[in-house]
Symmetry: C2
Subunit: 418 residues, 2 copies
């Protein structure tokens, strides 16, 4: 069987599974999720065994240590994954909600209800925890899932998916609903993301390269996730101490993630007071600054920011810093360089706060809080399948409701159109 | 300037326009729409003049008469377009709705509000009325629009867009918000639908060829519209007279549209009684039947249905007819051949009605009513930009709210992430 045929067959099995999974009861789904969590924990040993083989191969190939850490599974990490499944079981079922109900003048009753997407494709890198997370969220939202993880994690992913699939099917989840693509051929992704009419949506999770490849190649609908060139703008008259706390948190707490700060904009009327403290504080936190000329006026040892710095999602402790003349200049800069992820103003001026929130086109627009809060758990959704940076159909953190669409049910007594 | 650069420049102008258009008041948008309607009517003569040139060229090229009719503009049709703009002015502004509001335990206030998509691309065929409709809906929903209509209607579209743009800009709609691509090079569409980061969504409106080209080629998000292989299933014990009325309406009233009936499924226990009347009634209405063997048992002069017939969106008075053993077989057939547009059961059995509405995966699932009602106006939305046959982000008839997305506004007092 050639690769396209193999992927097609898996996707078709998922499509068949999806039809049944989309209509089973909340109770069955929840019981299955709890059973899956238990199975995961009791299979920890064999999963860790498989993971060791992946890790050895990765080391041999010279994988970066930070990547190795993402690939690593421990008993604690497996029980965290299991706990995640139990939490998803506790969440409200997003399927079958009545979103609106109208009676038309001709007597037709039109009811809009939430339904699963159908078949969801998840493309991700060598992070085996995504396997369990995605399976859990898709089962709960009534979606069949086709997983394509990074080759470096294949044995780990297989071990996890096998345990979860077995427990799922033994507890009423329709056969075929969970599919893991085992091919390590890069072409496999391309086959999956061009199965129009079978795959309803693909969600790529990973670095810019992976996401761009999927966006550029897919013919099925894609939800683009994750690229975040996030800005904090310190307005004139802002509270310097609050600004410093937020900036250090947004930049330093976890610099590798998409909601971390990448560019700091400071109003010129704040610069004297603010930089007097902030530049040192950033240095103390090992932040490497790339500065415009005005900022360098405060410290000429700072590296010069180039056009590339304004565009950069550093993902590490580098930070671009620029002095702007006004709120409007900050808005212009964000409109030009932002990626519509998370943007923040620090201000004591209510009008400026309102204008910033009105004008900035981003999934999450903050006043006086760290951009690091853009996250399904922090927003209180209880889960997260990714953070959308496009506007179709979900924006920002996506949880269970964002894995559903809707349909209209129309009930009449013989109405015909005039 | 080469083509890509030309399209890029137009899209960038739209993007600049969108930033301002997205935040102007409802009053300004409504007054502009009314002024645009008046301008359209008072320019009827020059629009008709331009349309005559398009029509002459189309006739010379041998355009089909039904297509010529779609291209034709009359004083009546222009005043209908103007009336459409006035109706859109009357509709509720979909921007700025508070969709949810939560206070998190850490004190952060998270407000989800509706915002425009940004830049909407509309790709369509030689139907100049789409130019006015799309401009009206996009202005009202705060979106800049980039229009690419069929080359055969270029002069008509230019005339309409010029009149509307002039009236819009004179009445407070930001410059650049309305863009019409004048190039007749087919490559122009490809350039437009690959402008990631500038164009937020493209909506193709037209035949299967156009839509497939856009779906296959676009790298920006697409809302697929319009292909409808719609089924009516006549259940055992259905009211034959009601069934006949609905079937004739769904098939005959306007066979060229996407919500028209294409395949009739009849329960075997109904076939004797139903076909005794229905086959003659279909023939009387000039419907040409392609039948399975069981149906041909009632009239062996009927053409034999092939696999292609079950897949066909005829768009004319042809109809595929099949006898099925059960509701379940009908559901299987629809799952296999339906296009997730509009599907109908005619039944007196409440359980069957409920199962049909639960199991059928389509934008609109009918009980005892004609599929022809799948339409933004019929659903009471007051407008329609298209009918989505995908699940991302809108499904079924799309009106003003479906031209918006949302953003989260988060307001704090210095919160940082733990």
């Amino acid at each position: 069987m050639d690769l396209r045929e193999e992927i097609l067959q898996q996707a078709k099995k998922a499509m068949v599974g999806a039809r049944e999974l989309g209509i089973i009861s909340t109770e069955v789904k929840n019981q299955a999720l709890v059973a899956m969590a238990t199975a995961l924990e009791s299979s920890a040993e064999e999963i860790i065994e498989a993971n060791k083989k992946d890790l050895e191969a990765a080391k041999t190939k010279g994988m970066k240590e930070s990547m190795q850490d993402r690939l690593l599974l421990t008993e604690k990490r497996i029980s965290d994954m299991a706990e995640g499944l139990r939490q998803v079981a506790e969440l409200k079922d997003p399927v079958g909600d009545i979103l609106s109900k109208n009676k038309l003048t001709n007597g037709l009753e039109v009811t809009k209800i939430s339904v699963p997407m159908g078949v969801v494709g998840i493309i991700y890198e060598a992070r085996p925890n995504v396997t369990a997370d995605a399976i859990g969220l898709c089962v709960k939202s009534g979606n069949a899932v086709v997983l394509k993880g990074g080759s470096e994690a294949l044995l780990s992913n297989k071990a996890i998916a096998e345990v979860l699939t077995k427990a799922a099917e033994a507890n009423g989840i329709p056969k075929g609903s969970i599919q893991l693509i085992e091919s390590t051929d890069r072409q496999a992704v391309k086959e999956l993301i061009t199965l129009n009419g079978i795959v309803d949506v693909v969600i790529p999770r990973g670095g810019a390269g992976l996401i761009q490849m999927v966006v550029q190649t897919a013919t099925v609908p894609v939800i683009e996730t994750g690229i975040g060139v996030c800005h904090v703008y310190v307005d004139a008259g802002a509270d310097c101490k609050m600004a410093a706390n937020i900036i250090i948190n947004a930049k330093v707490q976890r610099p590798s993630v998409c909601n971390a700060l990448e560019t700091l904009l400071v109003n010129k009327d704040m610069a004297d007071e603010f930089f007097a403290v902030m530049l040192k504080e950033l240095k103390d936190n090992k932040v490497e600054i790339f500065a415009d000329e005005k900022t360098r006026g405060y410290d000429n040892t700072l590296a010069v920011a180039t056009e590339e710095d304004w565009q950069a999602e550093y993902g590490d402790l580098r930070l671009a810093v620029k002095v702007v003349d006004s709120l409007e200049e900050a808005l212009e800069h964000i409109a030009k360089y932002g990626t519509k992820h998370s943007e923040c103003i620090i201000t004591n001026d209510h009008e400026h706060a309102a204008r910033f929130q009105l004008c900035v086109d981003a999934a999450a627009v903050y006043v006086n809080a760290s951009t690091r809060f853009t996250d399904g758990f922090e927003f209180g959704f209880g889960a997260e399948i990714g953070i959308s940076t496009q506007k179709l159909h979900a924006r920002g953190p996506m949880a269970l409701p964002e894995l559903t669409t809707y349909k209209y049910l129309i009930t009449g007594n013989g109405q015909t159109r005039k």
